[in-house]
């Protein structure tokens, strides 16, 4: 329960960071805000002789909009993103989701990239980004590649990152008119127990796009294909369609039992939160606002 000694490296470019990580091998780890990593090291769950601190890599700190795409550097903190006027005006659902992540101290230091790379199964941002169809940009200086956030995490604390590779940024499509985004979650301890994010688009009174991600109950966030059952439905069908979709979502997701609850309870929560979240997203889409609340 005490932080063991380690050596800190402070590169200023993605190239240098990547080279250091490659050279130092398994005894090195990249650190962004450190809110998750240092805690794990204190608890003895992880141990590294070298920590490559990415906070001075300027290239990871960009935040920009190009067309309908929001690009967030891997080193942007939750708090910077949450309070960015750009994000608040163009993507209020993202801002409000982040406002309920952990606490102010953690959000002020923790980063979006760090959260995804740590790959804790209980994550609001990972669920949210998966539902948005966001893209993770991975790089090592010389080369880069793009993978969907949905497949970025492959298990608890495991990602597709190759040795020496960094998550340099995340790209999200901004919600346009007729888009409704909701993020609902429930937590019994510090980390969320269940997270459900819905993104729907309504045009001409019918659903034209629907996507749903369920997180924190399995080892990785799951994008189910159940939301497609809402396509083409009009308001008068929503009650019934959403009920069926939510039940199907609970069937499709296989929760892991842990201190937050047994499988049966978590499945029931997935159904409830999916139903409430979809209704909220549909209402928002029909009203064409972009925001969504957080409580179940």
């Amino acid at each position: 329960m005490k932080l063991p000694p380690f050596e800190v490296h402070r590169p200023t470019s993605v190239e240098d960071a990547s080279r250091l990580l490659t050279e130092l091998g398994d005894d090195a780890v990249a650190m962004s805000g450190g809110t998750e990593l240092l805690l794990a090291m204190k608890l003895g769950l992880a141990s590294y002789g070298h920590v490559v601190d990415l906070k001075r890599v300027g290239a990871l700190r960009s935040l920009e909009v190009s067309g309908d795409v929001l690009s967030v550097g891997g080193g942007v903190t939750h708090r910077e993103l949450e309070t960015s006027p750009l994000v608040r005006s163009l993507f209020p659902a993202l801002s409000s989701m982040l406002a309920d992540v952990a606490n102010l101290r953690v959000r002020s230091v923790g980063t979006l990239g760090g959260n995804l790379c740590f790959a804790d199964p209980h994550s609001d941002p990972a669920t949210f980004l998966a539902a948005m169809g966001a893209v993770a940009v991975l790089g090592s200086g010389a080369s880069s590649r793009r993978v969907p956030v949905e497949g970025f995490s492959v298990g608890p604390y495991e990602t597709v990152l190759a040795p020496g590779e960094l998550l340099t940024g995340v790209e999200l499509r901004l919600p346009g008119p007729g888009t409704g985004v909701s993020h609902v979650r429930m937590k019994t301890h510090e980390r969320p127990t269940v997270t459900v994010t819905s993104r729907v688009e309504v045009a001409g009174g019918v659903v034209t796009s629907a996507r749903l991600a369920v997180g924190s109950v399995c080892s990785v966030p799951v994008v189910t294909d159940t939301a497609s059952s809402l396509l083409g439905s009009a308001r008068e069908d929503w009650e019934e369609r959403v009920a069926r979709c939510s039940a199907a979502t609970a069937e499709a997701v296989e929760p892991v039992a842990d201190a937050d609850g047994a499988v049966g309870y978590k499945s029931a929560l997935v159904e409830v939160l999916a139903r409430r979240g979809l209704h909220r997203a549909l209402e928002l889409a029909a009203g064409s606002a972009g925001a969504g609340g957080v409580a179940p």
Partner: protein, 770 residues
């Protein structure tokens, strides 16, 4: 905040006013000193090696590498204690200073390293090699009570120095203490009663979670010991250290700076013996600063199982109650016997039973020791008893406030055989908490309201001394052994002295405790400080006032009856003499001071302290909750409490006490639960997994009604407060949830538990309709 009565006009100069806390500014500015801020010269840093096993024989310890480490001054193991009787425990003397031959819980100290820096000590600790031979573990009440359970302790019970429980029973398996009482013919009452409610209940282990963890610095100098510690009871710590290390009491000095909260977790002796022992070996001062995970296995609140039944008449008359309790005290008794007795005392509740039978058991298990936590005993049982009263009301079709009005004990009524009778207006108290949550109002679906009332034996052993000094400049210093742990005791003690002497409370300074200079005080706990130590302060101040009046009589040449006291001066016939002048004229020079002593003891002139308990603290609360039946989430919308304090010395401090207790009550009812696995390992020893209430959990409204009937044995008719709401609120929340349709018999009310109960009730309901 509502006060049912205002202080008499024109009489209060300090008491009854919400004066600013004397320590507020220093604490906000970071200037207040806590134990961790102190650095005696040549101080070393201690690091404690703790057992990973809950029950094991220590087959060998190799400390050679640690001892050879640069910067390490000493390494302590059980072998270093051969020259003393190394067992302590104020209730049962069952605990070795450091493990000797055997460990009994995961986290028990096995060795200590003292080194020139904390990091050297920590690193050296990792080089100590211990060979364990593991034993069968009894990590739960059920495991420890099983017929073939492994024994946590094998020897006979040795009474500790300050248990106050009379003759102690022999150990029986893992049951280290038993308490009980009975009145009337329970069997026949239950046989003939038209309504009987019964059930089995579970109460969780919880951690007191003060912001400051246990912190101790000790310096064993050979013939003297000095201890600086975050302890609530410095004089009892002094007594145990004196006994353990074989030095007279006056050669042991315990100094207590500010505490960052205690809530009972720092009552009695905790890390002090270990710290003194390593200092004795190192020959230098050593500090041991617990991490949170270490403090969580240093003390906690007892988890408990309970079987209770209540008999009633068809008209709602409460007739009989039978209770059996088993409290899990962990590997060492700590304050478990007292907690067990207090739970037993609280179990009947404040009703006029024709028959009652209470049996309480204190049980050893291979888990961290359990001790005091705010409102212990009452918090354990009140929610159970009060939920049965509600159930009786539902069955006989009576309003839940009405059933209490009809059955509550009147003033003077017998709570249990041999104890002081009821010393408060219970019906008035329960009506106040009910009114504050709009009892009887229409509510939307999935809402419920609950109320509860109980009694907590308060005051502990009433022995306190105090000294008040009035200097030649009119300034007053109060020396009293009460520990300021955030409750505002230094402020309240200052107000009491100021009121007696009719001066502004800003002219009074109340010091922290140094047992070498501060008069004896038994302890800071059981809501006793204002009542008992405050009474001693009042008497000490009265003694100073007497000397002032005596001097004024001489100077003015008048009888005492003609003297009046106001504004720091004595007046007669239009002539006022300031205290400064009185002191100076009495001693003839610019120096000198008037010193007064006050004393409270069970018998003698302080007659109000003759019967136990000192007073019954009223545990009354109300709650309104909202249930989300689909997720099981229970939200507490508003709460109410009564601070039946006799007289509020500082109303704002009284209210703050109830606010703090309300939040802890919410935590105990809704979230908090220490989880041990079958091997005795604590699974949730960080805030990630052990959830305490945060500001997000605050109810939208909390109301505290201050009741002042001047019926307490303390100064100005005061009696203690601050604990009752913690016992009252979980009971009110459980009752409110039952009112919303879900009757629970296990705390905390986690969403999953509530959801499971909802499903069970639906299935039961469906099958009963078949």
């Amino acid at each position: 905040m509502t006060r049912l009565s205002d202080p008499p006009v024109g009489t209060a100069t300090a008491v009854g006013l919400s004066v600013e806390r004397v320590d507020a500014r220093d604490k906000l500015a970071g200037k207040a000193e806590f134990t961790v801020d102190l650095h005696p010269p040549f101080m070393l840093y201690g690091s404690v090696l703790r057992s990973p096993y809950a029950h094991a024989v220590i087959e060998g310890i190799d400390t050679s590498a640690a001892e050879a480490t640069d910067g390490v001054v000493a390494v302590l193991t059980g072998d270093d204690l051969a020259d003393i009787d190394p067992y302590y425990g104020h209730a049962l003397r069952d605990r070795p200073v450091v493990a000797i031959g055997k460990v009994r819980f995961a986290g028990e100290p096995v060795a200590v390293v003292a080194a020139v820096t904390q990091s050297v000590a920590d690193a050296a600790l990792a080089s100590i090699e211990v060979t364990y031979g593991t034993l069968e573990v009894a990590a739960s009440l059920d495991a420890a009570l099983a017929p073939d359970a492994p024994l946590v302790h094998e020897g006979a019970v040795r009474p500790g120095l300050a248990h106050g429980l009379g003759a102690l029973p022999e150990r029986e398996g893992n049951i280290c203490y038993r308490y009980g009482f009975a009145r009337g013919d329970t069997e026949s009452v239950f046989e003939s009663a038209p309504v009987v409610v019964e059930g089995d209940y579970l109460f969780p282990a919880v951690y007191q979670y003060s912001m400051e963890t246990h912190t101790t610095i000790a310096h064993h100098k050979g013939d003297d010991i000095v201890v600086w510690s975050s302890c609530q009871h410095p004089f009892l710590v002094r007594q145990e250290i004196s006994e353990l290390f074989g030095l007279p009491l006056d050669r042991v000095e315990v100094i207590v700076p500010f505490l960052g909260g205690g809530f009972g977790s720092k009552s009695y002796t905790k890390m002090e013996p270990l710290t003194v022992a390593i200092s004795r070996k190192a020959g230098r001062p050593v500090r041991i600063l617990n991490r949170v995970d270490e403090s969580m296995v240093t003390t906690r609140r007892h988890n408990m199982k309970c079987r209770m039944r209540t008999a009633a008449g068809a008209d709602g008359e409460l007739l009989g109650r039978e209770v059996e309790l088993w409290l899990d005290t962990g590997a060492y008794a700590d304050n478990g016997p007292r907690v067990t007795a207090t739970a037993g005392d609280a179990a009947p509740g404040p009703y006029g039973w024709k028959a009652m039978d209470v049996r309480a058991h204190c049980v050893y298990t291979n888990t961290g020791p359990s001790g005091s936590y705010r409102a212990f005993g009452s918090t354990h049982v009140q929610w159970i008893g009060e939920s049965q009263v509600d159930e009786v009301a539902r069955r006989v079709g009576m309003d839940r406030l009405e059933i209490r009005r009809r059955n509550l004990l009147p003033r003077g009524g017998e709570v249990r055989p041999g104890a002081k009778g009821v010393d408060a207006d219970l019906v008035g108290d329960i009506e106040a908490v009910a009114a504050a949550i709009d009892w009887g109002a229409e509510r939307p679906p999935n809402r419920g309201v609950g109320i509860s009332i109980g009694l907590l034996a308060a005051g502990a052993h009433p022995v306190s001394m105090a000294t008040v000094r009035l200097g030649p400049d009119g300034g007053v210093t109060v020396l009293v052994g009460t520990t300021e742990l955030g409750q505002g005791s230094r402020t309240a003690m200052g107000q009491i002295a100021a009121e007696v002497l009719k001066i502004d409370s800003s002219r009074v300074r109340t010091m922290g405790t140094d047992t070498a200079y501060t008069p004896y005080d038994r302890s800071t706990g059981a809501s006793r400080s204002t009542t008992v130590a405050g009474k001693a302060v009042e008497e000490a101040a009265l003694s100073v006032l007497d000397a002032l009046l005596e001097t004024a009589e001489e100077i003015l040449g008048v009888d005492r009856a003609e003297l009046t006291v106001a504004g720091g001066a004595v007046e007669a016939g239009g002539q006022a003499i300031a205290y400064q002048e009185l002191v100076q004229r009495r001693f003839g020079l610019a120096g000198g001071e008037l010193v007064g002593h006050g004393r409270v003891q069970p018998r003698g002139k302080s007659g109000g302290f003759a019967d136990g308990p000192v007073f019954w603290e009223i545990c009354a609360a109300g709650a309104e909750v909202e249930l989300d039946p689909e997720t099981g989430i229970v939200t507490v919308l508003r709460t109410s409490s009564v601070a039946d304090v006799g007289r509020a010395i500082n109303p704002q401090l009284v209210e703050s006490q109830d606010e703090g207790g309300t939040l802890q009550g919410l935590g105990n009812a809704l979230f908090e639960e220490m989880r041990f696995d079958a091997s005795g390992t604590l699974l949730n020893d960080t805030l990630l997994d052990y959830r305490i209430p945060s500001f997000e959990d605050l109810p939208a409204a909390m109301s505290c009604t201050i009741v002042e009937n001047a019926d307490g044995p303390g100064p100005f008719g005061a009696k203690g407060c601050g604990e009752g709401v913690l016992a009252g609120l979980p009971a009110a929340i459980v009752n409110a949830l039952a009112d919303a349709g879900v009757a629970m018999r296990e705390l905390p009310l986690t969403p999953e538990r509530v959801w499971n109960q909802i499903r069970k009730q639906r299935i039961d309901g469906a099958s009963s309709k078949d």
